[in-house]
Symmetry: D2
Amino acid sequence: MKKEMNRNKKPFEIRTDLAVEERESFPGDGGEISGVSLREWTEPESRIKMTEVRILNERGSAAMRKPVGVYLTLEIDSMTNKDESELALISEELSRQILRHAVGLLAEAPRSGPIHILIAGLGNPSVTPDSLGPKVARKLQITRQLEHQYGNHFCQSQNLPVISAIVPGVMAQTGMETSEILTGILRETHPHLLIAVDALAARSVRRLGTTIQITDTGIHPGSGVGNHRHSLTRESLGIPVLAIGVPTVVGAAAIIHDTVSCLTNALLSSPATQGLGSYLDGLTPEEQYQLIRELLEPEFGSLYVTPPDADELISTVSATVSEGINQALFDIPKIISDIG
Amino acid sequence: MKKEMNRNKKPFEIRTDLAVEERESFPGDGGEISGVSLREWTEPESRIKMTEVRILNERGSAAMRKPVGVYLTLEIDSMTNKDESELALISEELSRQILRHAVGLLAEAPRSGPIHILIAGLGNPSVTPDSLGPKVARKLQITRQLEHQYGNHFCQSQNLPVISAIVPGVMAQTGMETSEILTGILRETHPHLLIAVDALAARSVRRLGTTIQITDTGIHPGSGVGNHRHSLTRESLGIPVLAIGVPTVVGAAAIIHDTVSCLTNALLSSPATQGLGSYLDGLTPEEQYQLIRELLEPEFGSLYVTPPDADELISTVSATVSEGINQALFDIPKIISDIG
Amino acid sequence: MKKEMNRNKKPFEIRTDLAVEERESFPGDGGEISGVSLREWTEPESRIKMTEVRILNERGSAAMRKPVGVYLTLEIDSMTNKDESELALISEELSRQILRHAVGLLAEAPRSGPIHILIAGLGNPSVTPDSLGPKVARKLQITRQLEHQYGNHFCQSQNLPVISAIVPGVMAQTGMETSEILTGILRETHPHLLIAVDALAARSVRRLGTTIQITDTGIHPGSGVGNHRHSLTRESLGIPVLAIGVPTVVGAAAIIHDTVSCLTNALLSSPATQGLGSYLDGLTPEEQYQLIRELLEPEFGSLYVTPPDADELISTVSATVSEGINQALFDIPKIISDIG
Amino acid sequence: MKKEMNRNKKPFEIRTDLAVEERESFPGDGGEISGVSLREWTEPESRIKMTEVRILNERGSAAMRKPVGVYLTLEIDSMTNKDESELALISEELSRQILRHAVGLLAEAPRSGPIHILIAGLGNPSVTPDSLGPKVARKLQITRQLEHQYGNHFCQSQNLPVISAIVPGVMAQTGMETSEILTGILRETHPHLLIAVDALAARSVRRLGTTIQITDTGIHPGSGVGNHRHSLTRESLGIPVLAIGVPTVVGAAAIIHDTVSCLTNALLSSPATQGLGSYLDGLTPEEQYQLIRELLEPEFGSLYVTPPDADELISTVSATVSEGINQALFDIPKIISDIG
């Protein structure tokens, strides 16, 4: 039984911002994790594979190291090889899912007047793999300035949502926490919902630019390529936060970890080397870390793996995500008034 | 006498953000304008020509169409042809002048704890000639995050200023007035002084990238390449505002106007054509406008003239200005403690 | 009759790379110019207005200050306000016209083996309004490397054109004439047709980003935003050259000229000022130049007017043009084999 | 003895463009490799550590998998943390070394008239870590155009070198081998020396942006971030080629390899696990590859590790390298005439 227990632990901590990857790291494909539900399906219109991880309670939250809430992922094989009509299908599916979640979150929020949504493009505009959020924010169709130009009721009279956007930058550039900047803006402009778009770190290279995660839990400390220090959540900001992210980097530590795992499994699979495999497998995470700690020293920890076509990848993904957000937001007033 | 009166008016309104150009547009070089004082000198160390225009009262303000306050300009022949040591001289002179003004403004502000200065890089980062402010802000040395990392008194203990910076973007991108974003950030972070950096519109092409204006009056509606709608001033924000600007565009309207002026003067200078010159010169601004209104139709009005090397110009000027701000800010704690 | 004669001259020389603008500068809309034919129509599918100027002989060439050949223009109201389906219509029309001209030029060229076309993206990649050619070249679908990877007959076996592309840079960056670089590449790689893409200078601001010119005469000294010094033509290079250009700048001199013209016409239109108008109109180009020569001094001459959204304009136009070239090139092998 | 032999082999092939890293991969620090000489010293002026690897004959070439020739490396701790005066020291040292090598190579070349040097900035300008060469080439001071402007003997009369530069792009963008483009340009413009600047792949992350390699062997197939397919050498081009490179990426395969090595060494160092370590160490490269082949599948092989500040790193390194080249080239005419 020792082996089973050992396989249950995570060797040494490899960060992933994707709930679906955290879920995969638990052994036994069909296995249940207490406090976590999993649902998988394929959307009929787009043929996109969907996975919904729900963290139901504190127990699930502790196991998954992520807050209670819903984490939806769209899995596409690759965005960079798609033509425009295929990218349009992805945008549309993304739009439907954002719409569904946004409407749900808005229904819970006290509100008067037209719906106002603020989009925050998180990350560093000057660092290619961290620039997804800023690039998405810069491509959005903004409407709030129309209220300044044509009067306070213009958007409502036209059945338009009130949309604003901000690229807050990162702390090394601003000296301010993103949460400080957003809190200030929320106080002045009173949006009903924040949509935070961010580049994510994944564990597996095959996730780069192929997975879109939507979650109603907002942004948490330690997440994102730039490693946010403070949370952006309903609790901290006072309005619901929908977070949309796409992995653009894999930490170098994840590759080291994968090498050790792969080696362990290869050794375990042959009778001749099973003993060596068991030895590696039997080590505690701390012992494994000791073996390769030289590689995990400070400078290495801050490195990440990114594909050679990162500039093109970010360009395609940001166009697809901004299109999805645009479509969803412009459908919201119609849906809400139908409901209302 | 009619002619004298006519020459006193501005033919049709050509916008300039430079007080020194507004001053030049009044006839008679040595002439006095009531409520406006003018001082010119050459700085001994840098050999840079300085001009200080002081608008002393409402009368001067009405004549100059600018708020009461001090407008200092550094005039350099051209930044793009300078080598690094010459650019360093400019940065140093700029630093001295910013330091002098910033210390003056801070002396008036109530304050406890270490000096905290917020720099706002105004303008559109995606439009080359409007990207001066964002580029300057991105090159500054920021310190406020050190307080987050090492504790609240870190900067004071190290005799460092607390420096933060923001690139708020423009209303078409954010849906928000710059004043809304800055007000929110001021409420959260409580700086003692705002330094606003912006690309300016000049009347004369020879001002492009050659003049730096420093003013204690802040930013006013209609100023800047992006035409700010709301003011950023001590009155509107509650803290002193030092504005630093460099002209990067000339409105196409200014060129049309210069053509008419040039033609008028040329005709006036010859006895044979003096009559025609007098005719043009005798026209009211409205009549002049009627004559060439076809060229001033909407689409034309939004065009500007920019030099072919705008990308390089912005790059050089933003490096020089950010260096000047950096030097000034890191000298402030020393100066203030000497005074205090 | 003096007046008629005077109206026939061009006041002072304002450069335009568009044959259609040069043609417009001759008075009398329906007027014939010896050696120049003009045809205008609207394409049924795209509803795009087409103008074809044919310079038939040396007399036409002297009058138009452009070489003998065909100059076709597509006139679109504005590319920046179009949605994707409208831009696709423009690309398709452009594709049809390029295909027609390219097939005509290839029919005249001696050739064995598969059709090989080299595209040169002229201009300075680092100067926004001059970067159209480089941006188009970088977005093309290239196939010649497939011959390197899969063997010499790969493209022919797949019915693909052999496509290569080069961004030669400008002489200030390379120290070489574009013609030197291209001559060298032609000697090594033996394409059958050169397509040269370049940003153009227009006289009228309404042409910026709205007109696409296709000509079989190649590139001539003094043309383009960067002012090419040597020609790229069948005579100089030994293979036919199709040039595709879009105006992205208007020389500041053109605006000065338009101001004088506008003023002259306004003065002529009223009995009270007709004398003054006649005076201006009666001046020779040299006399007009003398009147405003101060404005046309060296530094001013190198300035140009560009719209505030130049970055976005170049991005949209380069995508549309590269799409049009791509479509045309991939249709060529089919057309040629149908003909052959 | 088996162990000694095993330690002599390279586990599975990890590419490095640095001769100094290839040399380090041989065991035994002081050990001699037949046909390879090694010299290390510290330059007195700059305090920069220098290593010169000389591959003397075919035997050394086979062992090092690099051509016969001289490979000089400057090792700097980090360029991104340096201030301007420290970067100037690096540029100056680089300048001295380039000057020494360039003069040596030019001495062997037949030549009449002034010295003409062509610099090729290799790599993809649109992919950040591969854009070092293009960025360096764009920052150089070019002089050959002065001969076009002021006559053929201008540079010689001013004691200036004739300098030209080209950014040929990569085959996926041009459809042409870099060697085809350069051969064509050489034929037209006849330079005496080619300096090729390129981003390199290293094995160790600590080399990123910290090592500059100068070699008189030119560029060889399989080298560089973009993996050149054809050589650029004196043999292939007919003129001497000085190659200057800086590592900007580490292949992900190198990290996997380092993990296995690190694990092996850690296991060998403890008596309890020595047996397991010996097992891993005793495997042939093929057996090691089999164990982790899953991680080395195609998609993974094309990934590389790059630091989060790659954009800033490339900007600093390209400025330093271009400054070093500029200084060296402008000193060449003086040195040569002193010698001559």
